[in-house]
Symmetry: C2
Subunit: 110 residues, 2 copies
Amino acid sequence: MPKAEHLGEFEQLALLAVMRLADEAYGAKIQAELEATAGRAAAISSIYITLTRMEKKGLVRSELGPPSEGRGGKPRRYFRIEPEGVEALQGSRAQLMAMWSGLEERLKQV
Amino acid sequence: MPKAEHLGEFEQLALLAVMRLADEAYGAKIQAELEATAGRAAAISSIYITLTRMEKKGLVRSELGPPSEGRGGKPRRYFRIEPEGVEALQGSRAQLMAMWSGLEERLKQV
DNA sequence: GCGCGATGTTCACATTGTAATAGTTATTAT
DNA sequence: ATAATAACTATTACAATGTGAACATCGCGC
């Protein structure tokens, strides 16, 4: 029973990638999305571990795709964000935006 | 020698609070600022531990205020953000903004 | 002197993030 | 048929980040 109070830095990014990819959100693609969009290198293990932990907290769910799609390897595991995940994400975002508000201007003067 | 690749969730918030408070950034006030502006409860120990660790990485520096100011207790420890800290903060922000871009609209439809 | 309020500090632990490595299975090459 | 390769998922052990509880310091008012 994790306490699950706040989303970690990487948890936020991983959730966002899942949302962006909609129904194409599986491990390898999530990794590519993070690299391409955020410029954030992430180990593939970080992605699986983080998403699996979040699944236990009810922030995402996952299901296996069809066993074959003209390719080898294990079937893909597709992730979907749950309403709780969306909510957590919006909460984190609101905190950061509140803290940033008014700071951009000040930074320009330096 | 920590590796210090990315800022954690709380590291970001703590740095932002230090920036917002300018030359009034000491432990208790940082805690109050987080609560007031972000609605984020944080243990006072989290603040000191996190900022002390970031000081070792060169993201902030700190100095003790005058021993007394008509009040008891240890002298206040004032924190300042360093240019490296500002840079790290902007990097984290850019990643999140990139990942969020385009998602707000999609969310409204749910 | 004694307690109170306003600080800062430390320790032990829980949660979050990563590197290294192993496992699965279709397709292609030999 | 067998082996190599490619495209994936999974586990383990550890490092970094975050927290709760408890303690230490010191001026002020009684």
